[in-house]
Symmetry: C2
Subunit: 135 residues, 2 copies
C-alpha cells in the first residue's frame, strides 16, 4: 500500500521509574532515537510535570516523535511518525525500548496519508503523489 | 474501558490549499483547537518546510496535538491526544475540520494507557491507576 507516512503507537509498560521521571534523560533518548531511525531533527521540546511525568516532542524533518510518561505507574505512551523511505521508525522504537527498560510493549503501526485515499477524496485532482524530501 | 488517554488519528482530505501552507495560520488554528477541547496549552512549535508544508505541535498539559500538511495534495495528518475527563479531543477535531475546510476525513480513536494492561504488565504493582491533573 502506497502511503506518505508510517506511524507507530507504542505502549511501554514496567519501565525504569527513575528514567521516566528525568526529563533531560528522556529528551536525550528521544533525540537519539530520532537519529537512530535516520531522521533529521528540527527541534525538541520537553516538559516536566508536577508532581511527576515528562511530556515531550521531537519535530523531525520527516514528521515527529512524542512521549508522555507516568513514572508512578512505570508507563509511557510513545509515538513515532515518519515519512519517506529513508527513515525506519522501528529503529527508534527498539532504541527506546532498550533505554527505558520497558519489560513489555504493545505496538500498532498505522499508515498515514494513504495515496489511494488522497486521490479518491480529491476527485483524482493529484496524480503523482509521493513523499518528497525537504531541502 | 478505563484508560489514561484518548488519541484521535485524523486524515484530512481536500483541504484549503492556502491554509495548509500558512504556518502562522495553522499554528493559530491548532492552539485554538486545543483550547476549544478545554486543554491547557504549555507551548507550541511550528515549522514551514521547503518548498511546501507545515509541521507543528502543541504541547498541552493533557498531552499533545500535532499536524503535518501536504498543501500540494490538499492533505493533512492530524493527531489529538488528550488525557483526563475534562478535555474532549473531538471538539478539537471538529474545530480543525471546519477551519481547514476538509471535504473528507478519516478518523480512528485509539485508547492509550489502558489501565488493565498497565496493571497486568507491572504484576499488579500499582492499584489505584488514574489520570491526575497536574498542578
Amino acid at each position: 500500500m502506497e502511503k506518505l507516512g508510517t506511524h507507530i503507537l507504542a505502549e511501554f509498560y514496567n519501565c525504569n521509574l527513575d528514567t521516566l521521571n528525568d526529563h533531560k534523560l528522556i529528551e536525550k533518548y528521544m533525540v537519539e532515537a530520532a537519529k537512530t531511525a535516520n531522521a533529521t531533527v528540527v527541534t525538541s521540546n520537553f516538559h516536566m510535570f508536577n508532581p511527576w511525568g515528562v511530556s515531550g516532542v521531537v519535530v523531525i524533518q520527516e514528521s515527529h516523535l512524542t512521549i508522555h510518561t507516568w513514572p508512578e505507574y512505570g508507563y509511557a505512551s510513545i509515538d513515532v511518525f515518519t515519512c519517506g523511505g529513508d527513515v525506519d521508525p522501528w529503529l527508534a522504537f527498539e532504541y527506546l525500548k532498550d533505554k527505558l527498560d520497558a519489560e513489555q510493549t504493545d505496538t500498532d503501526e498505522v499508515p498515514r496519508g494513504i495515496i489511494d485515499n488522497i486521490r479518491k477524496h480529491s476527485n483524482n485532482k493529484y496524480k503523482d503523489i509521493k513523499y518528497k524530501v525537504s531541502v
